[in-house]
């Protein structure tokens, strides 16, 4: 048992505990005087379970997990297929299994399983022996579950698989002509999509993103109210449980997608600085684990995990501020939710295991 706790990287652990603290305060305030007033307790249970999983994985040899990468990936794909058939339909999309009254979202876990398997495949050989076909295969391994998830549909979740592709430039380096090709592809693809593929409501969504105040009663309402919450928080915030936007319900879905706005309104710019600094330290510690990793596979996993955390941070924190489109990506440690919380802790457990193994040597 002692061994287990010694395996936890203390510097990463403090950052995680601090973030959990901020997230719990936020959920307490967001749930006040609503039917969800107990959500902070429920989320604390998930956090405790997550911490337990993290501690358990940190003491284990991470190579055991990488060896199981392929069967895990297959099981994950089957789960994604199964959820399309027998999953619970909530709010127009089919993303959840219902087990013992709890909803479980397999795509959350599949993200990490995919990262695990792709890291293992690409890291098992020296970079110069990895062929273009191997790279293409890796891209396919990432894109296939993305397509299944988009069938649910859940674009935000599908996009959160993309950081796994970071492993390719990490291994092969970045070439100028790749960047050029990417820019050309995005421009042409965007133009083609705008003219041929996008439906009017999708175009409207883009327009609303560009100018949220153009549709205050419709889709832009949420983001606009979130901006008002953040902006009105000012330098020091309105005080804990005293945010008017939060407490008077002007702020929508405040326990999940817009949880960070609650924090920003009530704790102000100082609170935002603290939270963002903690997230920066989190990424920093994960990348430090990548640097320390004994094998390429382990380094790739950590780097990919840092990418996934960074994307969640960018999209969620950027979205609630109105700086990015509303893609429904959760913010780790702030947004309430069982599947995502357990999945994040699972990844952190493996990362700590990787670092622990390196430290032992």
């Amino acid at each position: 048992m002692k061994e287990r706790f010694r395996a936890l990287d203390p510097r990463l652990l403090w950052v995680v505990l601090a973030l959990i603290g901020l997230g719990t305060l936020t959920l307490f305030s967001a749930g006040r005087n609503t039917p969800q007033s107990g959500i902070w307790l429920k989320q604390s249970l998930w956090n405790l379970m997550g911490l337990g999983i993290m501690a358990a994985l940190a003491g284990a040899d991470p190579r055991r997990f990488f060896r199981k990468g392929f069967p895990a990936y297959l099981v994950g794909l089957l789960a994604l297929l199964a959820v399309l058939v027998v999953g619970r339909r909530i709010g127009g999309s089919t993303r959840w299994f219902v087990v013992l009254g709890q909803t479980f979202q397999p795509s959350e876990l599949m993200k990490w399983v995919t990262l695990l398997y792709v890291s293992q495949r690409l890291g098992s050989r020296p970079p110069d022996q990895v062929t273009r076909l191997d790279l293409l295969g890796a891209v396919g391994l990432v894109v296939f579950p993305m397509l299944l998830i988009q069938r649910q549909p859940d674009l935000g979740m599908a996009l959160s698989f993309l950081p796994i592709l970071l492993l390719i430039p990490l291994m092969k380096g970045v070439r100028a002509r790749w960047i050029a090709a990417l820019v050309v592809f995005v421009l042409l693809g965007g133009a083609a999509a705008w003219n041929f593929a996008l439906k009017p409501y999708q175009k409207q969504r883009v327009m609303i993103f560009l100018d949220p105040s153009s549709d205050l009663q419709g889709k832009g309402y949420q983001v606009n109210q979130s901006r008002i919450a953040i902006g009105s928080g000012g330098l020091i915030g309105k005080g804990f449980t005293s945010g008017s936007q939060t407490q008077l319900n002007f702020l929508p879905v405040k326990t999940t997608d817009f949880a960070f706005s609650v924090w920003a309104e009530e704790r102000g710019f100082f609170g935002v600085l603290i939270a963002l600094a903690l997230f920066g330290l989190l990424l920093d510690r994960i990348l430090a684990a990548a640097r320390a990793a004994l094998s390429a596979t382990e380094a790739y996993f950590c780097a990919g995990a840092a990418g996934i955390f960074a994307l969640h941070l960018l999209v969620n924190v950027g979205m609630v501020a109105g700086a990015l489109p509303n893609k429904g990506m959760v913010l780790p440690f702030f947004s309430a939710g069982g599947s995502s919380t357990l999945s994040f802790f699972l990844a952190l457990g493996i990362i700590m295991g990787i670092q622990h193994r390196a430290r032992l040597k």
Binding site: G173, Q217, R227, S232, V272, L273, L283, S295, A310
Partner: protein, 624 residues
């Protein structure tokens, strides 16, 4: 790991680390922009949407009759409204809302526009007086249009329905024309009196709206009250009307069109003022149906919106003979004893003028001429005077001016003169002597309002006092509910010669004792008065005339006072297209006098028609 790979990987991981901190720095910049640079702007928006100033509608004062019976009451009602701050800006939202509520989209869009420009104040009312089904509809519609609200506000209930429609009038939202005509006097959306005493007494009846500053949540529900200025209710007041007498007038008129006015001779108070057909002011309270009601009523041939008592101008017929007789006696063209021979007709200026009695009345003095309503006698009087003499007398005794009753848009009584014809008939400005003959019996260009006629007979009753008819009796002390009497409007003295007065009074007495209205005499009370039959059209053949449609029949009039010995009330009754004054108007006057002097105390006011919706009524108790 391949030892050659490690330094490369570390370099690339270093780049990722820099990118991670770069990302954090970028987000810090975004939040610094929102929370530091644009803080003030967003703080203002957050404040504006959570802290609202809501007007508190002041209830209007109650209106009671002289005995304290309520003519108008206030009930609480629910209105579907949009608060000023929440007015929708997008045309398609307004159009969708209009469709959902079944309103005219153009009218609604115009209204939203004008309310948005007007700033703070009463909310825009979409539907008034919601009943159970209206509340259910409002809840459904609110799901789509979250800016809708439901406001509790007092509403008017006119008791007795049509009993005093024209006297009371009704209230409604101030309209654009009035706001333009009197800038600064009204607020947009203000409820004001539109007609009748509601309009004339608006300044007394209206209260002062209060307001409250409240904290609302996203649904617009009040979460906290930061303080309020209470609305000051309008003053309740008493009218001179007697609901019982008014009821008698209503019942006596029945289905006939016309008007009844009864005046209190002590101070000029209006005891009854009924215009038939009447209207139910409650119909006008629903703002959105008003256009429809207006159109319907305006097109109706019976013109129920016209207040015939103050706005109907009728040829007075024989009731005018008293003024002609007064003018002749004052001018000295006849004496009370002068005899005029009536042969049933007489020729003036080459034209035959008929008397009512084809066989003729024989030789008559003035008292007899009034009693028998002999036309030839008054033709003769008129022929001895100029029309301007008659006009001057009318002017001297106040008949040419408005009576000054406290009701809006009173019409002026029309007594022709040479100057009048020059102005009124520019095609043919010359006055012909033959026209004066017609004026002598109250025909031709003469037109009086029932209120004006009643005032003239009040002048005769009081031996020359010119009263000002009025409805306002006094304010109500809000604590004790007692009347605080208001000073009556001034009474003017006129130089009416008592000797001349005695002749006229004698004539009026003879009318009811043994003259044209003998059938309407009362045993207990000496009512005096004069019948009148005003021709609507002239026909040579009486038999042909009798077969004509009702619309072409003569108007019947009766005006007088009672009791003769010490007059207390004066009255005027007009019944349109009813034939002879003696047979239709005088019996109505008899009923009024009978009630006022014999059948009082007052019968109770009838209960309001139909069920009133009170959304705050406690639910019926469940059986145990």
């Amino acid at each position: 790991m391949d030892p050659r790979q490690r330094p490369v990987l570390h370099r690339r991981l270093g780049a990722m680390r820099a990118m991670a901190w770069g990302l954090v720095a970028l987000l810090v910049l975004v939040y610094a922009w929102l929370q530091l640079v644009r803080h003030g702007e967003y703080q203002q928006i957050a404040l504006n949407q959570a802290v609202k100033v809501r007007p508190l509608a002041a209830p209007r004062g109650l209106v009671l009759d002289r005995n304290g019976h309520r003519l108008v009451d206030n009930r609480r009602a629910l209105h579907l409204v949009i608060q000023r701050e929440d007015l929708p800006t997008k045309p398609e939202v307004v159009a969708a809302l209009a469709e959902a509520l079944g309103l005219d989209p153009l009218a609604l869009a115009r209204k939203v526009q004008s309310y948005r420009q007007a700033g703070k104040g009463r909310p825009l009312v979409l539907q008034e007086n919601l009943d159970e089904s209206g509340i259910a509809l409002a809840e459904r519609v609110r799901a789509r249009f979250p800016f809708l609200g439901v406001e509790v506000a007092p509403r008017r209930v006119y008791l007795g329905d049509e009993l005093a429609g024209h006297a009371m009038g009704y209230v409604g939202e101030v309209d654009e024309e009035l706001m333009k005509a009197r800038p600064g006097a009204f607020h947009l959306g203000e409820i004001i009196g539109k007609e009748g005493f509601e309009a004339a007494g608006n300044d007394r009846l209206k209260g002062i709206d209060g307001q409250k500053r409240i904290l609302v949540d996203q649904l617009g529900t009040e979460v906290a009250n930061f303080g309020q200025i209470d609305a000051a209710p309008g003053r309740s007041l008493y009218l001179t009307l007697d609901a019982g007498l008014q009821k008698v007038a209503q019942e006596a008129m029945g289905e006939e069109a016309g008007a009844v006015v009864v005046l209190d001779l002590r101070d000029g108070g209006v005891l009854a003022l009924y215009s038939s057909p009447s209207y139910d002011p409650n119909l006008f309270l629903n703002r959105l149906s008003q256009d429809m009601v207006d159109r319907y009523l305006a097109n109706s041939r019976t013109k129920p919106m016209l207040n015939r008592a103050t706005q109907g101008v009728y040829a007075p017929g024989s009731t005018f003979k008293l003024l002609v007789g007064l003018a002749a006696l004052e001018k000295g063209v006849v004496t009370p004893q002068t005899q005029v021979y009536c042969a049933g007709r007489k020729n003036f200026y080459g034209r035959d003028f008929r008397c009512d009695k084809p066989t003729g009345h024989g030789s008559l003095s003035m008292v007899q001429a009034i009693a028998q309503s002999c036309d030839v006698y008054f033709y003769e009087l008129a022929s001895r005077m100029d029309v301007d003499d008659i006009h001057a007398t009318a002017e001297k005794y106040g008949l040419t001016e408005r009576t000054g009753i406290d009701l809006p848009q009173e019409k002026r009584t029309r007594i022709p003169s040479r100057a009048w014809k020059k102005k009124a008939v520019p095609r043919d400005p010359k006055w012909y002597a033959g026209e004066t003959i017609s004026v002598g019996i109250g025909q031709g260009a003469v037109g009086v309002t029932p209120i004006g006629l009643a005032r003239f007979y009040a002048l005769l009753a009081t031996r020359g006092k010119l009263i000002t008819p009025h409805l306002f009796l006094g304010l109500r002390d809000d604590e004790t509910s007692q009347l605080i009497p208001a000073p009556a409007p001034p009474v003017r003295d006129t130089p009416l010669d008592p000797a001349i007065w005695a002749v006229l009074d004698e004539g009026l007495y003879e009318v009811v004792r043994g003259g044209t209205a003998a059938a309407s005499a009362l045993k207990e009370i000496t009512m005096v008065g004069k019948t009148g039959t005003a021709q609507v059209a002239t026909f040579v053949d009486r038999a042909h005339y009798a077969r004509q449609a009702k619309a072409l029949k003569d108007h019947a009039l009766f005006a007088g006072y009672a009791p003769r010995e010490k007059p207390q009330i004066a009255f005027a009754v007009v019944v349109e297209n009813a034939g002879f004054g003696a047979s239709s108007a005088a019996p109505i006057a008899k009923k009024l006098v009978q009630y006022w002097f014999l059948d009082r105390p007052v019968r109770p006011l009838p209960p309001p028609r139909g069920k009133l919706v009170d959304p705050f009524a406690p639910p019926p108790e469940a059986p145990e």
